[in-house]
Amino acid sequence: MRKIVTTLFLLACAVAVAPAARAQSLLFDYVGFDYESPNPNPGTFGELGSGYVGLGTVPNLFGPLVTNVVANEYTYVMSGMTPTGIVPVGPFLIINYTPGTIEIYEDSRSLGTAADYGVSPPNAQAPSSFTDGTQVLVGSLTSFQFVVDTANGTGSFEAVFNVTGGSQLANFPLNQRAGWTFAGSSGNALNIPAGYAHQIDGQTFLDEPVTTHRTTWGRVKAGAR
């Protein structure tokens, strides 16, 4: 009997942690550009010793974030990641990074400062015009991995995302703070400001909370009989 209960318990645990078919919900969508700072070798992207910085606007945000995109401009800054390893594969590089963060700021369109990329970042406008206003969300980014075609900058990145702070942290139930982010990159765009590496378009998902319900040992046993 104990074996059956133990088996059931382990099975329940396995179902709870299995990531494969977990439902997701879109949290926000972002568009911007990236650059490296520090940038020990300006001719190379993802070199050891460099720091990855992405910044841009967040045109679409969803619950549990509470937002007003008409009155406010939402911006993001991704930073803190530095390469730990680079694997060349054909014309591509697989670049793995140390953990970093993504922050989202809310700034009044009428009273705040409009986001401005400027050129050759960091500069007087960037990232400062992306970090003014209220910091509504902070998330950690781990397992950040960039795959990029060295010929044209076309590629993608992804990371594990966890909500860790910001003025709206309380909107996120404890069992709904984990998720992931991914984005496409391109070096082919003609609108990339001087000094930036790629154009970025990405989105971040939250894992749906794991549903639980109360039961009794009697019911568990009954189900196994």
């Binding site: 494969a20 078919a21 977990r22 439902a23 997701q24 919900s25 879109l26 969508d29 568009v31 550009f33 606007t57 045109p59 679409n60 694997v87 594969v89 054909g90 014309p91 591509f92 697989i94 401005d116 990329y117 050129v119 397992s143 991995q145 795959v147 075609d149 076309t154 590629g155 993608s156 990145f157 992804e158 594990v160 992931w180 991914f182 984005a183 496409g184 990159s185 391109s186 082919n188 765009a189 003609l190 609108n191 990339i192 400001p193 001087a194 154009q199 378009d201 990405g202 989105q203 998902f205 749906e208």
Partner: protein, 252 residues
């Protein structure tokens, strides 16, 4: 000193030539330097688009296979910023089809393989519909897909892909890659907005991340990829004709 250099040592000639060289260099810089304008946002942004290709898999899109996509627009930027994608009474959708695979090329060892598939052909059309009904129904084509994405009348824009590339891999934890292409716009009621002063039409750059993650609310059965992307206009840097006289005036 070379004979050519010696020939320029007479004082007047040297100054004149220096002026000319300086002006020429300045003109070249003016023509080729990137404009210091604020970075333009995407002209069309979507979230999401979904692609399907009968017989295809994320790691093998066989030659001859035809990829199609449908998508819903989430935002517009200049020169289409007058369109509002977020009013409930209206929806903006797009459909692309006829992208023919040239076969998948695999790079790397078994543990870190990257798959790149180039396509030829392909046409994309943007629609406006005053009776929103687009639905990403599973297993396309079906009664809703692509029909609910291409109703609403004449397309606002029509363009041909001149490049379309799908890049995937077998090692990313969340199954992510990219899909990118170039578009030559050829028609639609809004085509004039993409024309430069000289009349040339700015091409489009189709970019974004793609995922073949099948988690609920990310993937949809019957589709190969979810794409989060946008289109940017690739307008040439503006130039204007001038005379040497005008150019010299600038530096006096």
């Amino acid at each position: 000193m070379t004979p050519r250099a010696l020939a320029t040592t007479a004082k007047g000639t040297t100054i004149m030539k220096r002026w000319t060289t300086l002006a020429m260099c300045a003109a070249m810089l003016l023509v080729s330097a990137p404009q210091s304008h604020a970075a333009a946002g995407p002209v069309i942004d979507w979230d999401p688009a979904y692609m399907w290709q009968p017989g295809g898999a994320f790691n093998n899109l066989p030659a001859g296979g035809i990829q199609r996509m449908v998508g819903t627009v989430s935002g517009f930027g200049a020169p289409l910023a007058f369109l509002n994608a977020n009013i409930p009474a209206r929806e903006y959708t797009f459909v692309a089809d006829s992208m023919v695979s040239l076969g998948t090329v695999t790079f790397g060892p078994p543990s870190t393989q990257i798959y790149q598939t180039d396509y030829t052909g392909g046409v994309i059309r943007l629609y406006e519909d005053v009776s929103p009904d687009a639905v990403f129904a599973a297993f396309p084509p079906n009664p809703q897909v692509p029909s609910t994405f291409e109703d609403g009348g004449a397309p606002l824009l029509v363009g041909y892909f001149t490049r379309y590339t799908v890049t995937t891999n077998n090692f990313t934890a969340f199954q992510t890659g990219s899909i990118e292409g170039d578009i030559n716009w050829v028609g639609g009621t809004l085509l004039p907005y993409f024309q430069t002063i000289g009349g040339a039409v700015c091409p489009g750059l189709f970019t974004g991340g793609a995922t073949w993650n099948t988690a609920p609310n990310v993937g949809i059965p019957g589709y190969l990829f979810r794409h989060d992307g946008k289109i940017d206009l690739q307008c040439p840097t503006p130039t204007s004709t001038s005379t040497w006289g005008r150019l010299k005036q600038i530096y006096r």
